[in-house]
């Protein structure tokens, strides 16, 4: 494998990893936000009773 081909491979892998990381980090952030809101909602419901 030529040095150019190795670099091509590394750059392609990096692009795929970055894409997946960005999307999955966003999903995790949504999950945390969802849980925080659920807690807040439960607290509000508790206060109103």
């Amino acid at each position: 494998m030529s040095p150019g081909a190795i670099l091509d491979h590394q750059f392609t892998v990096a692009a795929y990893i970055i894409t997946w990381t960005l999307h999955l980090v966003y999903l995790v952030w949504l999950t945390f936000k969802w849980r925080a809101q659920k807690r807040l909602e439960a607290r509000l419901n508790g206060n109103s009773r």
Binding site: G4, A5, L7, D8, H9, F11, T12, A14, A15, Y16, I18, T19, L22, H23, Y26, L27, L30, K33, W34, Q37, L40, E41, L44, N47, S48
Partner: protein
């Protein structure tokens, strides 16, 4: 029933993402000129095309909010949530474009970045929507949603400019793969199939996270209303 449909949608989404990855990495042949680096195409181009779609959804939400805010407040709130969700998912897809593009450019052109028309207009689009999200996050007051809707509409005006940029100005970025004249399009059927699977996978995934973000914002609006009501009653 609704839970079953949602669960099924998630399973189909995951299957499509895996299948799209398999098609792009193991099935599609290498480009004769660029070699393996051309595989970035299967992630870069679908993310670019779909960021336009999500910014268009944000535009629809922004117009809806401005149309309904005085007559139908509840519908305006739903439109506002859609505008926010579309902008956020659009920024996510646009961020992928702006990070995978330079990686591809470094190997294909020998440079990370150049102030080419397509690259610059895409960066401007990303900056407009990042400022939209920052405004929504940090600004306070009764006019924030209205200002955000106006900014969202102006931001969307950049989308056709980005789309047409490499047709109007022929600089560094390659000519359009699709809709760029008689010679455009993917000729190899395996490459075309890999691209189609990936655009479908990223579309289905995008709709999933858009729906999650929309529901989250609607829930946030309901909590804010309940808090305001509780404060009035106290």
């Amino acid at each position: 029933m609704k839970k079953l449909a949602s669960g099924l949608y998630v399973v189909v989404t995951i299957a499509l993402m895996i299948w799209g990855f398999y098609q792009a990495v193991y099935v599609a042949p290498l480009d004769a000129m660029q070699g393996e680096i051309s595989r970035i195409f299967y992630y870069h181009v679908p993310n670019a095309m779909l960021c336009f779609l999500f910014f268009a959804i944000s535009l629809i939400g922004s117009i809806g909010y401005l149309s309904y805010r005085n007559k139908l407040p509840s519908r305006a709130q739903a439109a506002d949530a859609l505008a926010l969700a579309g902008a956020e998912v659009g920024v996510l897809y646009c961020t992928v474009v702006l990070t995978t593009g330079p990686l591809w450019g470094r190997r294909a052109w020998g440079i990370w970045w150049t102030w080419d028309a397509r690259l610059t207009t895409t960066l401007v689009l990303w900056l407009i929507y990042v400022s939209y999200l920052l405004m929504r996050r940090f600004a306070a007051g009764p006019q924030v949603q209205t200002l955000a809707a106006v900014l969202g509409i102006f931001g969307a005006l950049d989308v056709p400019i980005v789309y047409m940029s490499n047709r109007w100005w022929r600089t560094q970025h390659p000519a359009p793969v699709f809709g760029g004249g008689p010679d455009s399009g993917i000729k190899d059927p395996a490459m075309l199939a890999a691209w189609e699977w990936n655009i479908l996978a990223w579309l289905v995934w995008g709709v999933l996270i858009l729906a999650l973000r929309y529901r989250l914002e609607r829930q946030h609006q309901k909590i804010a209303d309940a808090e305001a009501q509780a404060a009035l009653n106290a």
